[in-house]
Amino acid sequence: MSLVIQNLHARVVGGQEILRGLNLEIEKGRVHAIMGPNGSGKSTLSKIIAGHPDYEVTSGEVLLDGTNILPLSPDARARAGLFLAFQYPVEIPGVSNANFIRAARQARLAEGEELDAVDYYGELYKEMDSLEIPRSFTARSVNEGFSGGEKKRNEVLQMAMLQPSYAILDETDSGLDIDALKIVAAGVNAQRSSNVGMLVITHYQRLLDYITPDVVHVLVGGRIVRTAGPELAHELESKGYDWIREDLAESASA
């Protein structure tokens, strides 16, 4: 059981190519990290997998437990088990957090089946408590007026409530101070299990001190150029991305 990305080529609709034959397999129970310099395509990778309408896939497949999800709409992909924690979570005025997550849970039930409100709130409060999110956030509009840290915690809360089989965390550390980062990382770690595969996208190694990956990939120019264990992240941190680029240039000329 895994999320498999095969030879994925994608571009901005009618524009520039961003992914140039990307291959990746995320197994359930494992945490993969993707690191890369600015502009390498790591943030757009998450949007492309989730089906953002600004991008189009020109070739390749994304198989979720064996099913190609590329023909599916973004919501069908989500219901198939894919979760994306956004780098910039969107504000939805007037829609309360509790109603929003509830609507998302309801969407996963069969036709005619109703969510049990008591169970739902019990679960929601439990997850909120563990993420140190105040109860008052149930009634507040989704992400509206939230601080950077509150938004990211809210993303992790939604992940906990929707229990995806594969979760992509896009720059979850951006805009967080160290205390907020620890809370968010603890929330993510609490959800690590044999039932979920995770892909953590980050520019800095810092996040990986708190969410230890099983595998680290480096994305440059729309392709995975290196794959290794967690030690790769430390190497990148000390040597910088230029080291990878130089390395690549050498092997290309060799």
Binding site: A50, G51, H52, P53, S73, P74, D75, R77, A78, R79, F83, L84, F86, P89, V90, E91, I92, P93, G94, V95, S96, A98, N99, F100, I101, A103, A104, A107, R108, A117, Y121, T138, A139, S141, Q158, L162
Partner: protein, 470 residues
């Protein structure tokens, strides 16, 4: 848990779309003349002064041009000769649902009215075509001196209060349709709340059009005496006919010193109804009037609730939601006429245009010379769902003299693509995401409605949103 509203009330957009065969004992026939007016006055056995009032009003109606110099040309499509102006079986409403004729009772039962009365209302009046068929109020309120009857009963039984205010807030000649109503009015409520009496539960009127080619002209007059409080709610439905139906009400509110009136409307007319309504209030010293208005359905609605702020520190408010779908034009707004120092008014209007729907806001704020400390705040926000949807805003603000403060803001937007994608990523379909966004857009105003209505409103909005995406 403030946003979690759970209710069993189930009134929806399609629910009003049925009708029973007509069996009217009283029928003024088709078309409008002085004979029609006499017929109505005869049947109602009215005093001479009101008959004279009606005849004069008819002359005013006939002499006034259609307001098409500023309003929709669609008004030209009303054929006054083809409309029936009075249809009824009886002139006296019963006090018990058991005595209401079976088919009429079935109508109101399908609309959930008796059930609502049991649950949370202080009194109910149910009008079927031209006359109220049922009117009842909790006995304790009667003992406190509260009057809640139909307009005919009001003018006959309580002339000393009725005559003092009737036609004073909205004169016959205010506009062509107020003149029409003044000529042929029938039904509607007359309410008097004595000094200091504060009604805990709302009074409700339900207006039902059952007949085809029909015009409903209810007339409502509410007087809240000093320091009293009342909330009045009205609901409206009609079955969908191929031909045009006319609804043209006049509603006058008088809030005496320190009184508080809230007037809540949830209109859900079928798409063949011309809904041309004049609503105005006078707020005396320190009184407060709030119009809370939701307009869904109808072919053309023209309705601009107003408050004349006549006494010092009076407050007026209009909270309005309008939703215009294909073939519909919601032309709504507010009028705030400041006539005393330190009066304040507030208008918040949100409209949603779907498909080829058109919503229009027209506002008037007037602060005359030599007043001090008056304030108005107006906010109009329009949401466009499709590329064929339309919205207009036409406010007119006049301020004479320094010492007052007026601000008006309006914006037009659409649901952002990022919002939709975010919600889709959580598993909601595009249509569900759109519905949720639209509900979010009006949510702060929906909360102003009584809970029972706010649930209904959300459901109505969801139903209207169906089919607008994809």
């Amino acid at each position: 848990m403030s946003t979690e509203v759970i209710s069993q009330i189930d009134v929806d957009r399609t629910r009003g779309d049925f009708h029973y065969p007509e069996q009217h004992t009283f029928d003024a026939g088709t078309g409008l003349s002085h004979a029609t007016v006499d017929y109505i006055s005869d049947v109602k056995n009215e005093p001479a002064w009101i008959r004279e009032f009606r005849h004069k009003a008819l002359d005013v109606f006939l002499s006034k041009p259609m307001p098409t110099n500023w309003a929709s040309q669609d008004l030209e499509n009303i054929v006054f000769e083809n409309i029936r102006y009075y249809l009824a079986n009886s002139q006296r409403p019963t006090r018990s649902w058991d005595e209401v004729p079976d088919d009429v009772k079935r109508t109101f039962e399908r609309l959930g009215i008796p059930e609502q009365e049991r649950k949370f209302l202080a009194g109910v009046e149910a009008q079927f075509d031209s006359e109220a068929v049922y009117s009842n109020m909790k006995k304790a309120l009667g003992d406190e001196g509260v009057i809640f009857v139909g307009s005919t009963e009001g003018l006959k039984e309580h002339p000393e209060i009725f005559k003092k205010w009737f036609g004073k807030v909205i004169p016959t000649g205010d506009n062509k349709f107020s003149a029409l109503n003044s000529a042929v009015f029938s039904g509607g409520s007359f309410i008097y709340v004595p000094p200091g009496v504060k009604l805990k539960h709302p009074l409700q009127a339900y207006f039902r059009i059952n007949a085809e080619n029909f015009g409903q002209f209810e007339r409502t007059l509410i007087i809240a005496d000093e320091g009293s409080e009342v909330m009045y709610m009205e609901g409206c439905t009609a079955p969908k006919f191929e031909t045009a139906t006319l609804h043209s009400a006049v509603v006058e509110l008088v809030a005496l010193k320190g009184a508080k009136i809230q007037y809540v409307t949830v209109q859900n007319w079928s798409a063949n109804v011309f809904n041309l309504v004049t609503k105005r209030a006078i707020a005396h010293e320190e009184a407060e009037v709030r119009w809370i208005d939701c307009n869904i359905g109808s072919r053309l609605t023209m309705k601009y609730p107003g408050v004349v702020l006549k006494g010092r520190k009076a407050r007026g408010e209009v909270i309005s939601i309008a939703l215009a779908n294909n073939g519909q034009h919601q032309d709504t707004g507010a009028k705030m006429i400041h006539a005393a120092d330190e009066t304040t008014s507030n208008v918040i209007s949100k409209s949603i245009s779907i498909g080829k729907g058109r919503s229009t806001y027209r506002g008037q704020v007037h602060i005359p010379k030599h007043l001090k400390g008056c304030k108005n705040n107006t906010e109009c926000d329009a949401l466009l769902i499709n590329s064929t949807s339309r919205t207009d805003t036409y406010p007119a603000i006049t301020v004479r003299g320094s010492g007052n403060s007026v601000q008006h803001e309006a914006s037009v937007s659409q649901v952002s693509a990022d919002q939709i994608f975010y919600m889709q990523q959580r598993g909601l379909t595009e249509a569900q995401a759109m519905s949720l966004s639209v509900n979010g857009f009006v949510n702060d105003l929906v909360r102003e409605f009584p809970m029972e209505y706010s649930v209904e409103l959300k459901r109505l909005i969801d139903l209207e949103m169906e089919g607008s995406v994809g």
